[in-house]
């Protein structure tokens, strides 16, 4: 399993850079991962990350766009503004969860 150095720590990731061991995740790591993606985290970003975190712990999957809207109360337009080009994939990576896949 590949590893990578970031922010002075070593983390386990997959070939696309998604964290494979969520216990290594913390808020500093999230900020560093966001920086890598060219994003400086604000409260609005944290609202998204915290919703993904809560929902993943409940459901075991990264929530989709519609769930973010309906359950998380975050409009799609805002998601694209906060995490441009593929907001769910980017936000999931920063939140330390697997890349969301449509598995059906």
């Amino acid at each position: 399993m590949p590893q990578k150095q970031i922010n002075g720590v070593t983390i386990d990731v997959n070939e696309e850079g998604y964290l494979t061991n969520h216990s290594q995740w913390n808020r500093d790591l999230a900020a560093a991962l966001a920086q890598e993606a060219g994003i400086t985290l604000t409260d609005a970003h944290w609202k998204v990350i915290e919703f993904i975190d809560k929902d993943f712990k409940e459901k075991g999957v990264v929530p989709g766009m519609r769930r973010m809207n309906k359950v998380g109360g975050i409009p799609t337009k805002d998601l694209y503004a906060l995490f441009p080009e593929g907001p769910i994939k980017k936000a999931a990576k920063i939140a330390g969860y697997p890349k969301p896949v449509s598995c059906v």
Binding site: M65, N69, T76, S102, C103, V104
Partner: protein, 421 residues
């Protein structure tokens, strides 16, 4: 008498009615099926309607014809499921109490979920083929097609029969070629996925076929709106795809009754145990077919395999025995690729579609993840099997509800790690 109530007389509900009347003691149990619509549609046939390959009588029959006499058929609209009171309230005010409830209310298209989709272009330049009316009006539009930009589009996942939009695209390529219109038509496939299909190995094979057929693919396209004045679809990140004719698969959602009853997720699909098919909300509610939130394809073959597991579990539940965690996500789908050929996919929760032969190793007669004429004949034969065997819950010899790995060429990386599944 105890009551076993089935909501929905589509593919899944009809199969359950036929399974259970043979297995449940009818001296103790009264089985009822409720459905508001009189017509049973063979939905896989909608794919062929726009090209004139099937006509109305191939795909429509009365629902009642497939409900056994021992089962009471109630034609009515359901207002609400009161899970805490074990009863269903109909729109006509009637109350139906139950001891066991099976939800088989399916999924339907919801074009209103995309801004502008139902504006001026709807059924003029914008069509769906997931409804009978949509497929029939698309047929008329294709009859008048002279060339231009034909865009096939998936709005959002999950959708029923996830391979159908690809099949439509392949068939359109063939149909246009036969009519001498292919040179005058730019064929574009637009998907919210990162590739042609949801599963990686099949996605490569099918993506290659799209290239070969000179079909342009726009991937990672999350639709925000339809602009009917400029005839284009616009994504949330402001990408645009212009169309002269848009064949879209609108967002698919579970029935509104699920939302009214507080039993669904954000798409009105019912949270369901993926192996036992018991609803997460209540022990005496079970869910089958497109109505579930399972990570399996929304397809008739899946409903068929589920019906075998669910009828066993209904009997276990009646006897107070533990349920069997026996549904493996098995799906079996033909993919029409045009020119009288088709692919066949056979897969489950753990194993994605891979090459091989089916159902007999080395013999077939069907080829997995490979084009063949025999696969196409299988797809055509399937319509008769659907009406005469599947709906009536008669056995399909040699094809079990659990996916078999025999005859499959399984690459080392095709099986996901259990932990990731």
């Amino acid at each position: 008498m105890k009551n076993l109530l089935i909501l929905g007389a589509g593919t899944a509900g009809t199969m359950m009615a036929n399974q259970l009347r043979k297995k449940v003691n009818l001296d103790e149990w009264k089985i009822k099926v409720v459905d508001q619509y009189p017509q049973h549609y063979y939905q896989p046939g909608f794919l062929f309607l726009p090209f004139g390959l099937y006509s109305e009588r191939d795909v429509v029959k009365p629902k009642r014809k497939f409900i056994p006499r021992a089962v009471e058929y109630v034609e009515a609209e359901v207002d609400q499921i009161e899970a805490e009171n074990n009863k269903v309230i109909l729109k006509n005010g009637q109350h139906l109490g139950y001891d066991i409830l099976i939800i088989a209310t399916g999924a339907k298209t919801a074009p209103d979920q995309t801004e502008g989709m139902l504006d001026g272009d709807w059924r003029n330049r914008v069509f769906d083929f997931y409804t009978f009316e949509g497929a029939a009006s698309l047929r008329r539009a294709l009859e008048n097609w002279k060339g231009g930009r034909l865009v096939v589009h998936i709005s959002e996942l999950p959708i029923k029969c996830p391979v159908a939009p690809l099949e439509f695209t392949f068939l359109a390529d063939w149909w246009l070629t036969q009519r001498g219109l292919r040179d005058k038509t730019e064929l574009v496939f637009v998907t919210p996925l990162s590739g042609a299909f949801t599963k990686s190995i099949a996605s490569q094979v099918l993506g290659h076929l799209l290239d070969e057929k000179k079909i342009k693919v726009v991937h990672d396209f999350a639709i925000g709106s339809v602009d009917h004045e400029k005839h284009r679809i616009v994504s949330w990140d402001e990408k645009e795809v212009a169309y002269d004719l848009l064949v879209t698969v609108p967002t698919n959602m579970g029935d509104a009754v699920i939302e009214r009853s507080g039993l669904g997720d954000e798409l009105n699909f019912v949270p369901t145990d993926k192996q036992t098919l018991q609803a997460r909300a209540r022990d005496n509610i079970f869910v089958i077919g497109d109505a579930t939130d399972l990570p399996a394809s929304k397809a008739g073959s899946v409903a068929h395999f589920e019906s075998e597991v669910l009828s066993k579990n209904i009997l276990h539940y009646i006897k107070g025995e533990p349920l069997e965690a026996d549904f493996d996500g098995h799906a079996n789908c033909f993919i029409e690729s045009g020119y009288g050929k088709a692919f066949l996919l056979d897969f489950n929760y753990d194993l994605q579609p891979v090459p091989g032969t089916y159902p007999l190793p080395g013999v077939g007669p069907f080829s997995l993840l490979k084009e063949s004429r025999v696969n196409h004949w299988g797809k055509l034969a399937f319509r008769q099997i659907y009406w005469n065997v599947l709906l009536k819950a008669l056995p399909l010899p040699g094809i079990g509800h659990l996916m078999s790995r025999v005859g499959k060429q399984i690459p080392a990386d095709a099986l996901p790690l259990k932990a990731a599944a």
